[in-house]
Symmetry: D2
C-alpha cells in the first residue's frame, strides 16, 4: 500500500475565469484550493486543467498518479474521448478516482459507471447536511455525525448510478430532498469515490471537514497493487500442462 | 409485471454458417434453438441476427421487447456503435438483458458494465458443473443443486466485472478453474443477467436445464415498469413552489 | 411463485388497548387496519397478536403463511425466545418477513440481522418524505417519486443494520435527519423487507400509498420455492460415488 | 488506523490433545503455529484457548485486541453463551474477526451472521485451489492467481451465509465442488473475514501463503476507530434545540 499517495487534482477551470461570482470564491481555481488542502493533509499533489495540452493528463502524468481528483461541469463535452479512454484504463488498472460534485455527469464517470448518472437539482443555495452512515469507514475518519453546509446546490434522488458497494454519506437538504452523497465503487483494479458537495459559487472546498473527506478518500482509493489491466481475454494452459 | 414477457433472441449467426462443426450442432443457428426452447416455456419470442438491416435491432423491434437475449463472439467489432448505444439506452430504460457466454466481451455488455469483462479461457471440451449458490432465486427455479455439462469451453477467474448484486451460479471445471457463471446486475431501470455456458461447438443450448435457466432469466429480467430513461439532469421546483 | 401469497399480520396490540390516543387512530388495532388494506390488494390475510397462545405463531399458523408482517414496540422483551427461534427458522426456510417501524428493535429482526439495529429517534410528529431510490423495484410499484407523511416519528442514521442488498426508500425529515427507510435483505432462503413508517399515534397505516408498499412487499417477500432449511452441515458422497 | 494491530488467536485446542494424527501436525496446537506465523508478519500476538477461565476471552483480553482469530470445531457447544455475547458486542463495536475453517459453525459466527452457516462437506483429503477473485483486495496482497493445497477437507455450496460484501477467494475441489472461501462482512463497526481452509489433520496453517492471507486479514479487519457500540436507541434533541 502506498503510504503517501501521489494525487493529481484535475479541474475544468472555466467557471473561475468566466464568472466573477466564482472567482471571488476560488480566485486561483478550485484545483488550487483542493491541492493546498490535500498537501496540508500530507499528500503529494499535482494539478492539471482542461486547457493544458492533453488536458494535463499525459501518460506520464497518469503514471505518476495514485489517485486522481476530478472536478468538471460546463465543459464535459470538451474533454477528448481518447483522453477519457486513457484515464478510464488507468482507473481500471488500479489508479484511484475521487469524482467531485458535477463530475457525476463527466464522460469519465459515466463511462466507468455504465449508467446515465443523472440527478435532480436546484441551485438555490440551501442548507445541506451530509450524514455519516458508516462511521467506521476510513473515508469518514475524523468526521462527526454529520457535516453541515449552510449554502449548497441541491442534488436529489433518483441518482442514476449502479448500487454503490459502500454508502458513506447521505445528504439531507432543507428543500426536502435526500441524496446518496458519498458512494464507493470498485471497478477493475481501481477504487472510485463519488462525493457530492462543491458547487462553484459556494466556499465548500474551503471547509476543513470537506477537505478531510477528500484527503481520506485519496488515501482510501490509492492502489494496493501495481496492476496491469488485462486488455484482452487470456488463453490458459491446457489440462496436461496443469497436471490435474 | 409482464406476465408473458416478449423476448427477442439476438444471435451473431456467423459460426453456424462458416464452420461445419458448429452447423452440425446448430443447423439453423443458435438463436433458433434458444427461441424454440423459450416458446416451449410459454414466452413470446422473436429473433434477430447481425446481418439483418440495423442488425435486426430497430427502434420498433426494441419497443416490442421486454427481454433481449444476446449471443455474439467472432464479430463483436462489427456491431455498429450507434446500435450499441440504442440498445444500451433501452436496457437502462427498463428492458431486460440476458447476455450469454462470449457476450461477456460484446460492446453492449462492456458498455453497460464499464469494465473490461475479460476472462481466462481454454477450449478443450472439459466437464463443467454449475452450482446453484442461491436456490431461492427465481432464476434457479426448478434446477437441482447443480447443472452438469460434459463438454464445454472453460472460463476462469478473474472475471473483469463489477461485483454482481446477486450471484446465482458458480462454475467448477475439470481442469481446475472456477467462475462466477450466473450474475445479476441492475443498471438504470433495467436488469441484466450474465449466464456463462454456450460455446458454439457444444450442444449446451439443447440441454433442458440450460433452457430453463434462460427462460427463468427472461422472466426475471422483464421490466416491472414502463420507464422512460432520464436522458439529462432535471431541474427541480424552487423551495417556495414545494411549500416546505 | 405463489400468485396470491398468504399473509399473517402480527401485532403486539398493547398500545391500542392502553392509550386512548392510539385507540383513537387504531380502535381495533394496527393489525386490523393493515389486514383490511392487504385484503383490498388481493392478498389472503390472517392476523395474530402477542397475547394469544404462542403469540398466535403456532407451527400450524406459520406453515400456512407465505409472508409475515410484524409490528411490535413496547413489549419486545415479552416475546418468547423459543417463538423467536421458531419464526426465525421459518424465515430462513423461505417465509417472507415485512418488519414495520419499531420492529427494527424486535428480537426477531435483530436475531436475523445479527447487529444492534439501533436508531436515533425523536417523537415530535414532524413531516417525513420517503423518496423512492429504485423506481423499478417491485416494492415501489405504483408509487410516485416520494410518499409524504405530515406527522411521523423521526428515525435517524446511523441505523445499525448490515448493508441492505437493495435500498428502495430513503427518508427525509423536517428536523434535519435522513434514514434508510426501505431495506431489502436475503437471509437463508427467505426475503426480508424493513419499512420504517408507522408510529402508533399517527394514522400512517391508513394512507393508501403506505398500504400499497406493504402489499407490494408481501408479494416480493413471498417464497419462490418450498424450501427446507438445512439444520445441520451435510456430508457429501465420496469421490468414487461422484464418479469424477 | 492501527499500524501494528494486536491479534488474539483463539483455538478450541481439543483435537490436538485427543488425536495423535492431529498432534503430529500441530504438536503445540493450531493457535501456536498461527501465532508464530503472524508474529513473523510483524503483528503483536497473544493466544487463548477454550479450557482457560472465561475461555481466555476476558474483558481485559478483548480490550487489548484489535483482531480476533477464531478456530473451533468439536466443542462449539461448550463455548459459554455469555462469552459469545461479550465477544459479539466487541466485534460490533469495532474489533476485527477472522473466522477460520470450521468456525463457520461456531456460535459466534452464526450469531453475527444471523443465518445457519451450514455447508456440505467431505473429508477425503483432496486437492483444493483457492482462486483470487479480487486481486486488488488488501487480503490478497502478495498472493498469486491461486493457492493450491494438496490435501484438504472439502466444503461445498450452498454456504448458508448472507451475501458477502466482498468475495476475495473462490475454492475449487478435485471432487467437483466450489465454495466461497474468502468472504468479507461489515457488521456494526466491525469487520469480519471468513477464510475456509484449515482442517486439523492437514498442515494447512504451515503453508506460507495461507499464513500471509491470515496476516493480511488481521490488518484489514483491525478497527479504524475507537467506537463504542450504541447499546440502545438514542433520543435526539427536539427541533428547537437543533435550530432548524
Amino acid at each position: 500500500m502506498t503510504q503517501s499517495p501521489r494525487v493529481l487534482v484535475w479541474n475544468e477551470f472555466r467557471h473561475e475565469r468566466a464568472k466573477p461570482a466564482v472567482r471571488d470564491v476560488y480566485p486561483e481555481g478550485i484545483h488550487v484550493v483542493i491541492a493546498e488542502a490535500l498537501r496540508s493533509h500530507g499528500l503529494a499533489v499535482q494539478t492539471a486543467t482542461l486547457d493544458e495540452p492533453e488536458h494535463g493528463l499525459t501518460e506520464e502524468a497518469l503514471a505518476n498518479t495514485d489517485t486522481l481528483v476530478w472536478w468538471g461541469h460546463m465543459a464535459h463535452e470538451e474533454v477528448d474521448d481518447a483522453i477519457v479512454e486513457r484515464v478510464s484504463l488507468r482507473v481500471l488498472s488500479g489508479m484511484g478516482l475521487v469524482a467531485l460534485h458535477s463530475a457525476h455527469y463527466s464522460k469519465l464517470f459515466r463511462r466507468l459507471m455504465g449508467t446515465p448518472c443523472t440527478v435532480n437539482w436546484r441551485d438555490d443555495g440551501e442548507r445541506e447536511r451530509l450524514w455519516v452512515v458508516t462511521p467506521e469507514h476510513p473515508i469518514a475518519h475524523g468526521i462527526g455525525p454529520y457535516i453541515q453546509l449552510e449554502r449548497e446546490e441541491m442534488y436529489g434522488e433518483v441518482f442514476g448510478i449502479p448500487e454503490p458497494e459502500e454508502l458513506v454519506f447521505l445528504s439531507w437538504f432543507a428543500g426536502g430532498e435526500v441524496f446518496r452523497s458519498g458512494c464507493c465503487f470498485r471497478r477493475g483494479f481501481g477504487r472510485i469515490f463519488y462525493f457530492r458537495p462543491g458547487h462553484e459559487t459556494f466556499p465548500t472546498y474551503h471547509q476543513p471537514d470537506i477537505q478531510r473527506v477528500i484527503a481520506n478518500a485519496c488515501r482510501w482509493a490509492a492502489p494496493n497493487i501495481n496492476a496491469v489491466l488485462p486488455t484482452q481475454n487470456k488463453r490458459c494452459a491446457a489440462l496436461e500442462d496443469v497436471g490435474v
